[in-house]
């Protein structure tokens, strides 16, 4: 097999799915570092976002790229409401209670998606898209857009966290929550802001997964493990780390099919996660130890 085949059939799909994992992993890492629990409903929020975009596509007749920002806003609102309805009451309790509650929320969100949109697979657009060929490398528009949208969203988040007042408040809350409170930061606002960002990122991950593959009720749930693996691989609390982790997990999953039957693809993320926790629990970019 030549280099071009490896690039076209393994590397490009790896980078595309890796970009999608990255979008999810960034949200997971934010929740981990600011709210301090593992959010198991993360994948199903992505599913919700994907189907909300489908709603905009079928009802509004718009392209999925126009539906994307709509879905991001709606999912952000849903995330804020879920937090207020379920997680806010548990804030003072041990974090494991919230982790379990988020599992319940995951099942609930999925059930709502199944009731509204059914259990069959859907797509945003019908028909086959022919890839463009650049120096022998085959790329579809949607693949390029996925990669660049991920880069754009992460850069925007980075600038927000580094430069803006409330971005700094989020970093402060992640760094030293007590001191952030003592500096006058309103924790409730930081929590809400975190959910707005995380909800938006979840929707983006879901929409791009739906664009490149298909939409089904289980789509987000099956992404949960690779997204967590990516967040931990990159170092908890590290946005750049989550991106790096997402790309590594995505590429590793695709490459694994060179040597292993495709059924083992999902196990690759698990293997990476275990290996990382054994060898370097702080992640590649030295994040918090869980």
């Amino acid at each position: 097999m030549g280099a071009l085949e490896i690039i076209n059939f393994y590397l490009v799909p790896g980078i595309v799915i890796g970009s999608i994992y990255a979008l999810g992993a960034v949200g997971i890492t934010l929740v981990f570092s600011i709210l301090r629990y593992a959010h198991l409903a993360h994948g199903d929020l992505a599913t919700l976002g994907a189907f909300l975009a489908l709603g905009a596509v079928t009802l509004g007749g718009v392209s999925p790229y126009v539906a994307l920002p709509v879905a991001m806003v709606l999912t952000a609102a849903a995330a804020v409401m879920i937090d207020k309805a379920f997680y806010a009451y548990l804030r003072e309790r041990p974090k494991i209670v919230t982790v379990m509650a988020s599992l319940g929320v995951a099942l609930m969100v999925r059930a709502i998606v199944q009731v509204v949109w059914g259990v069959d697979s859907e797509t945003y657009t019908r028909g086959i898209v022919r890839p463009d060929v650049w120096f022998g490398i085959r790329l579809r528009d949607r693949e390029l857009i996925t990669i660049f949208a991920m880069i754009g969203l992460v850069l925007a988040l980075h600038v927000f966290l580094q430069q803006s007042k409330w971005g700094k408040a989020m970093r402060a809350m992640s760094d030293n929550p007590d001191l952030a409170l003592l500096s006058g930061v309103d924790n409730k606002k930081v929590v809400m802001l975190t959910w707005i960002i995380v909800g938006g990122l979840c929707a983006a991950a879901g929409v791009f997964l739906g664009l490149n593959y298909e939409l089904k009720a289980m789509m987000g749930w099956t992404m949960l493990l690779p997204m967590f693996a990516a967040a931990i691989l990159g170092g908890v609390g590290r946005v750049e780390g989550a991106v790096l982790g997402g790309l590594i997990v995505g590429i590793a999953e695709e490459m694994s099919t060179l040597f292993l039957p495709t059924e083992y693809k999902a196990a690759t993320a698990f293997a990476i996660l275990l290996l990382m926790l054994l060898v370097r629990p702080t992640g590649l970019l030295k994040g918090k130890v869980l």
């Binding site: 007042k165 700094k168 408040a169 970093r171 760094d175 030293n176 003592l182 500096s183 006058g184 924790n187």
Partner: protein, 235 residues
């Protein structure tokens, strides 16, 4: 009455047990009040209680005439109280300048005068303003912690062992800064391990033991007190 801080019969603790068994103290405007006492006396706990970082079960805390017992921390900061905890008192993964920015979180408008003031008080910090606070030496980190609290231009400044682990030179510098800040009209309440030096420099002092008031008076009176000397001042 020009008392900035009044704490009356405070009772409270972390779990079910009460660490504070009725602590009372007050601090007037532009006064330096020092709290001393043996390890585990509840000095830090008394300071944390002001910010509601533990369960307060009885008593009251008043700042400048307003009762603040049970308020959210951000409202207490808004009321003009800043607190430098004994441990983890900087944002380690943020730069020195960002730490100061967080101190001014509730302030709006032009802050350049506030930055100038802090950087003039702590010239070391100006040089290292882009360094991560976690990478600084202990003394410099203590300065970042104080600088962060001063950014808000509080009326009441609470310092928990600002000189812990510092060399005598740094300690003298911190005390001098406290005096300068006091002279701008700020009330300072500080906990000190170096009881002798602290009582000599403070306007008034409280001796806490086992979660209750043991002695109070001017620094000089306490230094002269036989019981206080026996308790922990040494020879």
């Amino acid at each position: 009455m020009s008392d900035i801080l009044v704490m009356r019969d405070l009772v409270g603790g972390y779990g079910d047990a009460n660490v504070l068994q009725g602590v009372s103290m007050r601090a007037a405007k532009a006064e330096i009040v020092v709290i001393v006492g043996p390890n585990g006396a509840g000095k830090s706990t008394a300071m944390k209680a002001i910010f509601g970082l533990l369960k307060v079960r009885g008593g009251s805390i008043t700042v400048d005439g307003t009762e603040i017992t049970g308020w959210e921390p951000n409202r207490i900061v808004e009321a003009g109280v800043c607190y430098v905890p004994q441990v983890s008192n900087v944002f380690r993964e943020m730069t020195v300048h960002e730490n100061l920015e967080m101190g001014a979180f509730l302030r709006t408008g032009d802050l350049s005068a506030a930055y100038d003031r802090v950087y003039t008080l702590f010239p070391d910090l100006k040089e290292r303003r882009k360094a991560l606070a976690g990478n600084l030496s202990g003394g410099q980190r203590q300065m970042v912690a104080m600088g962060r609290a001063l950014m808000l231009e509080p009326k009441l400044l609470l310092l928990d062992e600002p000189t812990a682990g510092l060399s005598p030179r740094y300690m003298e510098q911190i005390f001098q800064i406290c005096r300068d800040v006091r002279d701008t009209g700020v009330t300072i309440v500080l906990v000190e391990q170096h009881a002798k030096q602290a009582l000599a420099f403070a306007d008034r002092g409280y001796v806490l033991a086992a979660g209750a008031n043991r002695h109070e008076g001017t620094g000089a009176d306490l230094l002269a007190d036989r019981d206080v000397a026996d308790m922990f001042l040494g020879g």
